[in-house]
């Protein structure tokens, strides 16, 4: 059992970056890349000790920061701002532009999340009740047929039902026994094959049962093959598998 500890609970590399920008009181539109990159990598070193799951994502951003930093070290081409005709103007693209846009977008949603939380908290102080059970008085017609329902209404109805069931679910669980053991199933399969005249198509043995049952059936067939009680054959590629009683029985 290992424990993951989150330092100051950063929600990802952008969150850490935003935190650093706030703490260093950096102008987000004019980021000193060298300082920010150093601080960021310093934080990563601390986090590596904690073996954070998302370290790889933090490293991707570290690489981006270093790339931007190195781009900014390159001398800017200080040519004429204007072409010969004096009209065309091509500003050097700031390598930080994309990063700034990403940080700003993330910041927007981070702030929206705070507002959502507040509005959920405001809602949470109002309590309400489940619809009254009116079964004793007759049935209530469900949903106005004039309102068209689509598959998503069905899905949300289903989710609502699941939610209620969860609330009503007893806090204990019962464990049901496997319906059949492999040994019992093996006997049953042998019986089926004999009844069918010594041969049986593989698929026929899987026509019913839940996942557990199907797995038991499969294991039983493997066990029977291992004991050489049955032989499985296939006529050609992708043909159906045919299970037959082994000729000569179990002497081998």
């Amino acid at each position: 059992m290992s424990y993951n500890v989150k330092l100051e609970a950063f929600e990802g590399p952008l969150d850490l970056l935003l935190h650093l920008i706030n703490r260093l009181e950096i102008d987000i539109y004019d980021i000193p890349m060298a300082e920010l990159t150093n601080q960021y990598i310093e934080h990563l070193h601390t986090m590596r000790v904690l073996q954070l799951d998302e370290l790889s994502e933090y490293l991707v951003l570290a690489a981006t920061l270093i790339e931007i930093k190195s781009k900014m070290l390159l001398p800017v081409h200080e040519g004429d701002v204007f072409d010969d005709d004096g009209t065309d103007f091509e500003p050097e693209e700031d390598p930080r532009e994309e990063l700034i846009a990403r940080i700003l977008e993330y910041k927007q949603y981070k702030e929206a999340a705070v507002q959502l939380k507040e509005s959920a908290e405001e809602r949470a102080v109002h309590f309400t009740k489940q619809p009254s059970d009116m079964e004793n008085y007759g049935s209530i017609p469900q949903a106005d047929p004039a309102e068209e329902l689509d598959v998503f209404d069905l899905v949300s109805a289903f989710q609502k039902m699941l939610h209620r069931r969860r609330l009503k679910a007893p806090l204990s669980a019962s464990i049901t026994n496997n319906e059949r053991s492999v040994g019992e199933k093996m006997d049953e399969i042998m019986g089926v094959i004999v009844r069918k005249g010594g041969h049986c198509v593989f698929d026929e043995l899987f026509e019913e049962g839940d996942t557990g049952g199907l797995v038991v059936t499969f294991l039983s067939i493997l066990e029977l093959m291992k004991r050489r009680d049955v032989v499985v054959r296939q006529q050609g590629n992708f043909d159906r598998l045919l299970i037959s009683l082994a000729i000569g029985g179990t002497e081998g």
Binding site: L14, E111, A113, L116, H126, M134, E147, L162
Partner: protein, 202 residues
């Protein structure tokens, strides 16, 4: 009893029985055999009466398009004594961020959410879906046909919103535009100055 008071009382009894399912304006109008206008008026009256009555613990709210009777906020602490176990923490910061992105950008794919947060959001999306706040809403017709996610009416209710239009507006960073404006003005000035120079030479 006059008609408008009677209507308010009838609406109140419907809402009492409906509970958290709520009833839409349309449903209330159909049930009370009145126009939507009359119902709205009666509901307004009902709300005003609840809010002014100090001896009433109930009031009226509209969440996810449906009207429902709820307890007043000021009695929340008293209400909590009714419950043995206080409800668990609403959700993690990660889940809230993912929910915010989905709420504002819906329908949206997981990859888009990941890109904005710079971190994988798969687990948070699963949690949100299992809690019924978001649901799959078709697939994007692009390579891989990724699943699109959208919020549910249950999300609106739990977050006290009547519709998606009630989401607080995203805070836009205006500084950027101002900056470019400043730059452009300066640039324009420079251009004009040059023009003037050229003009005086000729």
């Amino acid at each position: 009893m006059n008609d408008s008071k009677r209507l308010a009382a009838v609406l109140e009894s419907f809402l009492f029985v409906a509970g958290e399912e709520g009833l839409t304006l349309k449903q209330l109008a159909a049930l009370s055999v009145c126009t939507e206008g009359e119902v709205t008026e009666a509901l307004d009256g009902l709300l005003a009466a609840y809010e002014s009555r100090e001896d009433s613990g109930i009031t009226l709210r509209q969440y996810g398009g449906g009207f429902q009777l709820v307890t007043k906020a000021e009695f929340a602490e008293d209400m909590k004594r009714l419950f043995e176990n206080p409800p668990a923490k609403l959700m993690t910061q990660a889940a809230l961020e993912v929910l915010a992105i989905i709420a504002y950008k819906q329908p949206v794919t997981r990859v888009e959410v990941d890109e904005i947060r710079g971190v994988k959001s798969e687990r948070a999306i699963q949690t949100l879906a299992s809690k019924g706040f978001i649901t799959e809403k078709g697939r994007l017709e692009a390579s891989g046909r990724p699943i699109l996610y959208a919020t549910t009416p249950y999300f609106l209710d739990r977050f006290g919103l009547n519709s998606l239009e009630d989401l607080p507006p995203l805070l836009l960073e205006n500084e950027e535009e101002e900056d470019t404006d400043l730059f452009l003005t300066k640039f324009q000035d420079m251009l004009e100055a040059q023009d003037e120079e050229g003009g005086s030479d000729a």
